[in-house]
Symmetry: C2
Subunit: 367 residues, 2 copies
């Protein structure tokens, strides 16, 4: 059966001051009226039964997420006591799934991506599931055709195309191109990213995966035996009175690692499917402007705003607060009730440092 885990533990510091520690990106309606996590759950439609859905997040965010997704069964939310990156999160969810369904196929996805072509997304997940059913050792990732030389994404280098009945079903709908992964590449510099685009066989690593839950556990046991040990001790305690204590102690003892680093870059049968759906990670204010579009001055306005000689600028605010921009080019202005950000687009990476600076200065109320 198909299960899914939605990873919703991110802090979204790049969207400060809209996103805060207690209300990060996935809990905000970054596009449209619904929160990103709500959209992510809705996107799965009837592909995954609600009782086979796990939302993985931090204990701090768990109450807000439970409130936001109040039609999910109790226990759907897996609250991690501390942040340990994606591998422990995925491993723990996999343990939960195999308890009830040893043959569980597991789709993994972040809570804060934008995918508007939802039916294509579901088809792509179904297709990946058939690839996994064909060969249970396969680990399937989705690669996004790059549209610009992004420095902020990991890249996947394609190897040989796979030879699979699912990939070339006679008379069926054309399946998306699928390859063995030759290599995962970390976030490149601009020149390297341009080289990848020219080479043509590189896609962005979407962070969306499909595999058998038992297979990813086997891989973790092989490559990260200590992590696996801690996770299995948690899994054993699930129905006991000691669960909370064991979870806290064992999870904290894990060395945090991404699933890419822990497994994907080491495993053998790793496939990359060229994603047949649109995709954006909404990783920055700029990407939001890209998604929302711009007016004829190149501005993206989501506020009560008057602009004079203003171009290429993103303005966000709320309610009746008036934001006036004069002589601005390529800036970001975000107003909230207790804090305002004004940044130049070229320095967007530095916005993440704002949160660190506020922590250092003890200004916790703005985090």
């Amino acid at each position: 059966m198909l299960h899914a885990v939605i990873m919703a533990g991110g802090t979204g510091t790049r969207f400060w001051p809209e996103s805060r520690a207690k209300r990060p990106k996935q809990l905000l309606p970054m596009l449209g009226d619904e929160t990103m996590i709500h959209k992510t759950v809705d996107r799965l439609g009837d592909l995954v039964a609600k009782k086979r859905l796990i939302i993985s997040t931090t204990s701090e965010l768990a109450p807000s997420i439970a409130q936001e997704l109040n039609d999910l069964p109790r226990g759907a939310i897996l609250a991690e006591p501390c942040k340990r990156n994606t591998a422990p999160c995925i491993g723990l969810a996999a343990f939960m799934m195999v308890r009830d369904d040893p043959e569980a196929i597991m789709a993994v996805m972040p809570a804060d991506h934008v995918i508007e072509t939802e039916e294509r997304f579901r088809e792509a997940i179904r297709y990946a599931a058939t690839l996994v059913e064909e060969d249970p050792e396969r680990l399937v990732t989705f690669g996004i055709q790059p549209t610009y030389p992004a420095e902020g994404f990991g890249y996947i280098e394609q190897g040989e195309p796979i030879d699979s009945p699912a990939a070339s079903e006679p008379g069926g709908a054309a399946s998306p191109p699928t390859y063995f992964v030759k290599q995962f590449r970390e976030k490149p510099d601009l020149a390297t990213a341009k080289g990848y685009l020219e080479a043509g066989r590189f896609t962005w690593n979407s962070g969306i995966f499909v595999w058998r839950a038992q297979t990813i556990l086997d891989q973790l046991q092989r490559y990260e035996p200590e992590m696996y040990e801690h996770l299995s001790r948690i899994a054993e305690a699930i129905d006991s009175a000691q669960y909370e204590g064991v979870l806290k102690k064992e999870f904290a003892a894990i060395e945090g690692k991404s699933i890419d680093y822990a497994v994907m870059e080491r495993a053998e049968k790793v496939l990359v499917v060229e994603a047949p759906f649109d995709w954006d990670d909404v990783g920055s204010w700029r990407s939001l402007a890209r998604l929302k579009g711009t007016d004829d001055q190149g501005n993206t306005i989501d506020a009560k705003h008057v602009g004079i000689e203003t171009t290429g600028t993103i303005v966000r605010g709320g309610g009746d607060h008036l934001i006036v921009t004069v002589g601005l080019e390529d800036c970001i202005v975000v107003h909230t009730g207790d804090a305002t950000l004004v940044a130049h687009k070229d320095h967007e990476e530095a916005i993440r440092r704002v949160v660190d600076t506020l922590k250092e200065q003890g200004e916790t109320k703005y985090l």
Copy 2:
């Protein structure tokens, strides 16, 4: 006796959103803790008795000014029913003064200038008063030695130095250089302003004047007979029950003109005293930065603020609202409860257009 009129009818649109129609610059503590009008009154010290002081403003601002200057005698505030520039304002004040004191000497000054060397200012006014006592036909202005080729000020071209006992009192303190005015020059373009600076005989027109009240009335009668007629009808009605109605009707019927245009540019015995006091008209956010000084990043911060890679920027806010700037250079960020301005310093002149734009759009609550 020395009388004074403080002109406090300005709207200060360049300081939007801090200054508003109902609380313009003169009613704000632009520097330090006190409002500019309060500082202007305090600056006069014992030079002018409170009962010989007139505050000229608009009827809209009169209640706020009365509240701010609550130790002034009743009737000190002259509320104009509509804006008609400086000549009618000065003329009406002069009529008030000569009623009680036909020999009244009248100092005229705006309510929103910064002059920190207060004793020097009072000495300069006293000196101008002696010039007027020597020759009651004299009209005395103060010229400010220019420090940069400002385009935003009018200039005064000096002629011959005057020959006066007051100007060269033997054994007395050196009097400030005093000249006949050769010509008034309107706000120049940059090249012209640079030429003025090189020529050396040009000073900024400070808008501070000293003359006999009766003399300025005589000059108005000569050069602006219609304006004089309207004003004298108001003056005649002062103690009557019809005063408010006459003021409204006659003042509205006046053609608005500046005192420079109505009298100074035409009169004969016009003198310019090189001001021996410091002076700034606080005409813009930039001038405020100049007056307040900058930190080692060139920033002028008057807000709860975190700056990352921010230089040459002015940040103003209030209370606990946090303003964060990232990658900004030479900008102006002003946050208030209901509106925020973000402008590039190079486009500062366009800030005045904000108020016009808001009027056009019917956004009166932000004016």
